[in-house]
């Protein structure tokens, strides 16, 4: 075998091994590297009441309600399998809407209501002009 073919084989094997190792490591990180829990994850994980975590999913249709004080809102986060009620006091971002993605940061209370101290809006991967809305929109997928 010529020296350069030897180097070629060596580097191909090394690159394949490296990518394999990285893929294995990343798939092992699957849960730890998740940015948020979905409502179904939350039901399975049963975190303690003082654990700070993020809850992500879709804001359920017609679930946003404003409480009497005018600054507290409650809504349901759904992933299609489970639902978690959320209470938040403060200013939500503009893109926070029903049937749209949301990530709430806070703690799960003992009563099963997630108390959020920050809300982030999560939009999906579709972009289109306003007049197209409804043609491609509303798959209701959590992503």
């Amino acid at each position: 075998m010529k020296a350069k073919n030897q180097r070629l084989t060596l580097i191909l094997v090394a690159v394949a091994a490296m990518i394999g190792a990285a893929l294995l490591a990343m798939s092992a990180l699957k849960d730890e590297a998740a940015y948020f829990y979905s409502p179904a994850d939350l039901a399975a994980a049963r975190p303690s009441a003082d654990q700070a975590l993020r809850l992500g999913g879709m804001v359920a249709d017609k679930s946003i309600k404003r409480e009497a004080d005018g600054v507290t809102i409650t809504f349901m986060v759904t992933d299609g399998k489970a639902q978690t009620p959320v209470r938040f006091k403060g200013i939500a971002p503009d893109l926070f809407k029903e049937n749209s993605g949301v990530v709430a940061e806070g703690k799960l209370g003992a009563d099963g209501v997630f108390v959020a101290d920050n809300i982030l809006a999560k939009h999906d991967e579709r972009y289109m002009p306003p007049q197209m809305d409804g043609k491609m929109h509303k798959t209701g997928k959590v992503e």
């Binding site: 948020f36 893109l95 992503e143």
Partner: protein, 240 residues
């Protein structure tokens, strides 16, 4: 590729190509950014905020393409010991780092109105930041390595190859993990989830930025070859 490993032949081709890539790429980039960001439609959900996409997405692609270039050139340098391969790999580093930084900056500016945050440690954002740091490390390492005489640049080439494992991590971060960043809009197999009125200017801007990127790399390669030539001549003159 072997035919272009000869620096003299490379230079005779690179000189006119620099000009073509630079002008065509620059005009295409500016034209398509104006087409998309100024004349194009607003988004149904985000409104005018979406217009930063025409900078953010090409910058992100080229930030990743820059490291792909480093990795391929590094492999060619290690395997075939092409004299030009190391030059090409080093030429990709600074422009790649600039595009990665541009991607992070525009992403942060976009994230504030769209998501409600400048920065979050989610999988996509973090892996892109790691890519930027890898660029900085590569630039420092290759600069240090090329200071000494007789250095063959092998360490930076190995670093360039190993760093390439971050590229699939960036790409698949939004698939593997829950992230705040949305999933991919454009895939080779699955088509596009961006309306045509936004997709074409975006693809045009990405092509223009790529050509400009190519022109910058050719310029940097020519500059390094010229520097090597000057240094060799200085050494010969000093020896006489």
């Amino acid at each position: 590729m072997h035919a272009f490993a000869n620096p003299a032949r490379f230079l005779s081709l690179a000189r006119p190509l620099t000009l073509w890539f630079g002008w065509v790429g620059g005009l295409l980039l500016v034209g398509c950014v104006v087409w998309g960001a100024v004349l194009g439609p607003a988004d149904y959900l985000q409104g005018d905020t979406v217009r930063i996409m025409y900078i953010h997405v090409p910058a992100a692609w080229l930030g990743m393409a820059g490291w792909s270039g480093i990795a391929v050139a590094s492999a060619m340098q290690l395997i075939w010991k092409h004299p030009l391969a190391g030059v090409a790999a080093r030429a990709c580093a600074v422009p790649g780092a600039v595009f990665a930084a541009l991607c992070l900056a525009t992403g942060s500016i976009w994230g504030r109105p769209a998501w409600g945050t400048w920065w979050e440690w989610d999988g996509r954002l973090t892996s892109m930041l790691v890519l930027f740091f890898l660029y900085l490390g590569y630039i420092a390492l290759s600069a240090a390595e090329n200071d000494g005489d007789g250095a063959d640049g092998r360490m930076s080439a190995l670093f360039g190859l190993v760093g390439a494992v971050n590229l699939p991590i960036i790409h698949f971060s939004v698939t593997w993990w829950n992230t705040l960043h949305q999933g991919q809009s454009i895939s080779l197999m699955g088509g596009s989830k961006i309306d045509a009125s936004m997709l074409w200017p975006l693809l045009g801007a990405a092509l223009g930025a790529s050509l400009l990127f190519g022109a910058i790399i050719l310029m940097r390669m020519r500059a390094e070859l010229a520097r090597t030539k000057v240094e060799a001549r200085m050494r010969r003159m000093a020896a006489q």
